[in-house]
């Protein structure tokens, strides 16, 4: 218990003292996670919508793969991205390894399956409800997808939060492709892992509390928005 109270004090002190290293790590964590989340939304939502409303031969196989990828171990994703981005890899010429961009790519590979698979299920339910109406009104596929995304926005917000949770809490992939380089690719999770390995448990736990507070804050905000919209 003493460790926990010390950690909370340390976390509080780090925040109120405006520790520049800490804020650099927090800002990089948020930047990397939000960027990967945004990229995953741009790719994953239309993919999910497409899978929800079209019937084709490989559909169930693609959905099964996406469902399986939701549980993909981050270190495996990190390793694959590492192999592609390393100097001898097919994308080595881009020199992206050990950069925040590599971390964003790795996180996107983890988040896209979550967003596309879960949104496909949500949109499919809505598609079943709206299908006859949209056929009756001759609504184009693009307009139908936009309508599904707009009308299912509250459920999709929960999916996006799940994706954000996956991105911000991920450590295996970003440490492999980012390298946990101080002032360059160090994020909250890799910093926690590092401080733990150094035996600096108090600081590691303090960083953990801050990470938890960020995740909690984002979720509370989303729930408030959802409740506000539902009560409208």
């Amino acid at each position: 218990m003493q460790l926990f109270s010390e950690s909370l004090q340390t976390a509080f002190y780090l925040i109120v003292s405006g520790d520049s290293d800490l804020f650099e790590i927090i800002m990089l964590s948020i930047k990397v996670s939000l960027t990967s989340l945004l990229g995953s939304i741009v790719i994953g939502l239309p993919l999910g919508a497409f899978l929800a409303i079209h019937r084709f031969r490989l559909r169930s196989i693609i959905l099964s793969i996406l469902n399986a990828l939701m549980g993909m171990p981050p270190v495996v994703v990190g390793l694959i991205v590492y192999l592609y981005l390393s100097r001898s890899g097919p994308l080595g010429f881009l020199s992206l390894l050990y950069t925040p961009t590599a971390m964003i790519i790795a996180q996107m590979l983890l988040v896209i399956p979550i967003i596309s698979a879960l949104s496909a299920q949500i949109i499919e339910d809505l598609h079943i409800e709206y299908r006859d109406l949209f056929r009756s009104l001759n609504v184009s596929t693009f307009k139908a997808i936009m309508a599904y995304i707009i009308d299912a926005r509250m459920s999709l917000l929960t999916v996006i939060l799940a994706g954000f949770g996956r991105a911000i809490s991920e450590v295996g992939a970003v440490s492999i492709v980012g390298g946990n380089i101080d002032h360059l690719t160090r994020v909250m999770t890799t910093a926690i892992a590092l401080e733990t390995s150094r035996g600096n448990l108090s600081l590691a736990l303090a960083l953990g509390f801050i990470l938890l507070a960020i995740a909690l804050g984002v979720n509370i905000f989303a729930v408030k928005v959802k409740n506000w919209a539902m009560d409208k």
Binding site: Y130, D132, L133, S136, L137, N138
Partner: protein
């Protein structure tokens, strides 16, 4: 209330006569519509009657192009049903399908789809169905009757020449039924062709100009309402009019 004049269809009765030529529809080996041929020439309200499972809704879906006949064809003024013809129709479904948006947004969604066409004034439409005061409410907050009235208003946004209604007044409160019936009579007087499914014989007597009676996917009678109720041309129809149970 009921003072608004709709924008009238640019070409009246462009879709009439509506002809079904040897139309059959099978699903999972079942003959849901069995070789129906008929020609609807009347310009008023045509009511489709029949017991549960007779194929009334399937027949309406075939008329609207939501199902394709397994054989035969559906012709509107001699032309096979296509997207252009379907856009001159509107359908109100048995269970009101409403977008998860506000009342007015449900109408504006359709209006935006038809930006190049003449659309009715949305606020006036809402006044017609008694929902103007609730225009900013989420559609899911409405009662069953209000939802169906909103569905009807939405169907009228595109000023259809042919309005198809699949049991729009089933399980509704008398106020909503009266409001919908009054609106339908007004639309009929403004030259909108209406085809309507109901189980309510009294409603059929009040509204119908002609009656289509089907049983087990077969056309049993197609007669003017007056003749149908006095002398139905099939035994099943006769039993149905007399309130007997038919299977």
């Amino acid at each position: 209330m009921f003072e608004t004049n709709y924008s009238e269809p640019p070409f009246k009765f462009e879709l009439i006569p509506i002809k079904l030529r040897s139309v059959s529809f099978q699903k999972l080996g079942n003959n849901l519509i069995d070789n129906i041929s008929l020609s609807i020439n009347s310009k008023g309200i045509t009511i489709i009657l029949g017991p549960n499972g007779a194929g009334k809704s399937i027949l309406m879906r075939l008329l609207h192009g939501l199902e394709k006949p397994s054989s035969g064809e559906v012709l509107f003024n001699g032309i096979n049903l296509n997207n252009t013809i379907r856009l001159k129709q509107a359908m109100v479904f048995q269970n009101a399908v409403l977008l998860r948006r506000t009342v007015i947004e449900n109408l504006s969604f359709v209006a935006n789809l038809q930006s190049s066409k003449q659309t009715s004034n949305l606020s006036k439409l809402l006044q017609e169905v008694g929902l103007y005061e609730k225009k900013n409410l989420l559609a899911r907050r409405l009662s069953g009757g209000e939802k169906q009235r909103l569905s009807l208003a939405r169907a009228l946004v595109s000023s259809p020449q042919l309005l198809l209604l699949d049991e729009p007044t089933a399980s509704l409160d008398p106020y909503s039924v009266q409001m919908i019936e009054t609106l339908l009579i007004k639309l009929r007087n403004q030259n909108t062709k209406i085809i309507f499914i109901t189980h309510d014989l009294n409603q059929a007597r009040r509204l119908a100009e002609d009656i289509i009676f089907i049983h087990r996917g077969k056309l049993e009678a197609y007669q003017s309402a007056r003749v149908f109720f006095n002398n139905p041309e099939s035994k099943f129809a006769q039993d149905f009019v007399q309130g007997k149970l038919i299977f």
